[in-house]
């Protein structure tokens, strides 16, 4: 299999060719996921993937896809409330892992008197505020700097009468959906198409969690299922832009 010359394939434990490591006059070198630094000067991959560098930001990382989410500070995730304790909720980020804590006061406008009531099973869109290998991860639904929610909080359809549900996707696909320019950089346009002319202007809203979960909400249950299926099939089939267009057209035809 050929990889393009810009992104060499690496296996764990292989030596990274020093000529591939970027150098910069001002910024220090930043190591991204999939690499570890062994002092003094060894940079060794820990996962199998393609080595990607960004000379402008002086960063280097390994690009790969996986299924199991490992929390990192600053990630936006969709968490499911497991139970409530005295001053925090316990929320699950992925199955069979230790639950994350979500303090009841880390919601917008929450005080000791007025705190949001979340029942077990309800979903929240949150940011990972603390992730440490020796501790359970901690979540927040409010920006600690501004005190605003910035779109975080309990996931409910804004229209009031609508419904929503969560679909599982691979972590790589969730990351592509979260890219600022997902069509150009991530090659996913399936959501735009469903809301655009190919999908006949379906009305829905989504929230993408870095932990491989996508929440889809809409007035009609049919729309929720179509959008969720389109996302999952795009992920599993590894569809390109043109194939995504065909998939959207097929799903819309089947719905009628």
């Amino acid at each position: 299999m050929t990889t393009t010359t810009g992104r060499p394939f690496v296996l764990p434990g292989e030596t990274v060719d020093p000529s591939l490591v970027p150098t910069h006059k001002k910024h220090p070198l930043r190591l991204g996921p999939g690499l570890r630094h062994i002092p003094p000067s060894d940079i060794i991959p820990t996962v199998a993937g393609q080595l990607v560098t960004n000379p402008v930001k002086n960063s280097i990382w390994v690009e790969y896809n996986s299924q199991r989410y490992i929390p990192q500070p600053g990630d936006l995730v969709i968490a499911q409330i497991v139970r409530s304790t005295q001053d925090a909720y316990l929320a699950s980020l992925s199955p069979y892992t230790a639950s994350a804590t979500l303090p009841q006061l880390s919601f917008e406008g929450a005080t000791k008197k007025t705190r949001p009531m979340l029942s077990p099973g309800s979903l929240v869109y949150a940011r990972v505020s603390l992730a440490n290998k020796h501790m359970d991860p901690e979540l927040e639904c409010v920006s600690s700097a501004t005190g605003k929610s910035d779109g975080l909080g309990p996931l409910t359809a804004t229209a009031g009468t609508g419904t929503g549900t969560v679909f599982d996707v691979s972590l790589g696909f969730a990351r592509r959906l979260l890219m600022a320019r997902s069509r150009e950089e991530g090659r996913v346009a399936v959501l735009e198409m469903l809301g655009g002319e190919e999908g006949g202007g379906l009305a829905f809203e989504t929230a993408v969690g870095r932990n491989g979960k996508v929440w889809v909400g809409s007035e009609s249950v049919k729309t929720v299922i179509i959008v969720g299926r389109a996302l999952q099939e795009t992920d599993r089939g590894g569809l390109g832009i043109e194939e995504q267009r065909r998939l959207v057209k097929r799903l819309i035809r089947e719905m009628r």
Partner: protein, 253 residues
């Protein structure tokens, strides 16, 4: 059974597991699933490192003492490969299901329970490494394994790479060796009668099989004739199998 077939592998065969692989070589077919890092049971919990749990399921029947023995060997060598210190109090679970093993033409081995031996170790080891790579579990290095038997033939002792069940039955001794991708010896298990000198020779052969780097000259891969007889190029095979999977995952890049 033909023992000199080329190895085959498929990654990500089980959609619900975090990582999975199916590997077949020398008549053995093994499917592995990897889940992790997940929450460990209280009794398996270690405060500073992840617990690696290996489960070997035979093709027929339930596992016995031999499977537990193979599990403990795999468990100790795989914990050396995985960066267990990155995931304290976690569990990394590897389940190996043997699907097919070569038949012994001379004995009726169909549906014989708990007759695993060192012959299957390389297949189990290779499958677990491939499944771990597919699950993107952080690892120190990759590894390859091979089995070598010393068979008494016409009065001389002959060394056989990837022996068949018949050869294992008749062998004086059977050895399993694994080497990491940095040519370090990771696993060395032997059974039978052998001398230190014989073991040294076996180790040399195994190192040649496991650590052979394909001779590359100006972009052309050159295979020397005497190397073909040494069995498959395991390291190169591992690399190309994973490379295919990664390229398919990152098609959008």
């Amino acid at each position: 059974m033909t023992a000199t077939t080329a190895p085959e592998a498929a990654l990500g065969v089980l959609p619900r597991a975090d990582g999975s692989a199916r590997y077949s070589h020398a008549g053995y077919t093994v499917t592995a699933s990897v889940n992790g890092p997940i929450e460990a049971q209280r009794r398996d919990e270690h405060p500073y490192e992840a617990h690696v749990d290996v489960i070997v399921r035979p093709a027929a029947g339930v596992g016995g003492t031999r499977e537990r023995h193979l599990e403990s060997l795999l468990q100790s060598s795989l914990s050396q490969l995985i960066l267990v210190k990155n995931f304290p109090r976690c569990l990394i679970q590897i389940v190996l299901q043997i699907e097919d093993s070569p038949e012994n033409d001379y004995a009726n081995t169909k549906l014989v329970q708990a007759s695993l031996n060192f012959g299957i170790m390389p297949a189990l080891f290779q499958t677990s490494v491939l499944a771990l790579l597919s699950a993107a579990v952080p690892m120190r290095a990759t590894a390859t394994a091979t089995a070598v038997a010393i068979v008494l033939q016409d009065g001389t002792r002959k060394k056989v790479i990837d022996p068949s069940p018949r050869e294992i039955e008749a062998a004086k001794s059977v050895h399993v060796l694994a080497f990491t991708s940095r040519d370090e010896l990771l696993l060395a298990e032997s059974e039978g009668d052998f001398t230190v000198r014989e073991w040294d020779e076996v180790c040399e052969i195994a190192e040649r099989v496991c650590c052979r780097s394909t001779v590359t000259k100006e972009g052309i891969e050159m295979m020397l004739d005497d190397e073909v007889a040494d069995g498959p190029d395991t390291r190169h095979f591992l690399r190309s199998a994973v490379e295919d999977k990664v390229a398919a995952d990152l098609h959008w890049k």
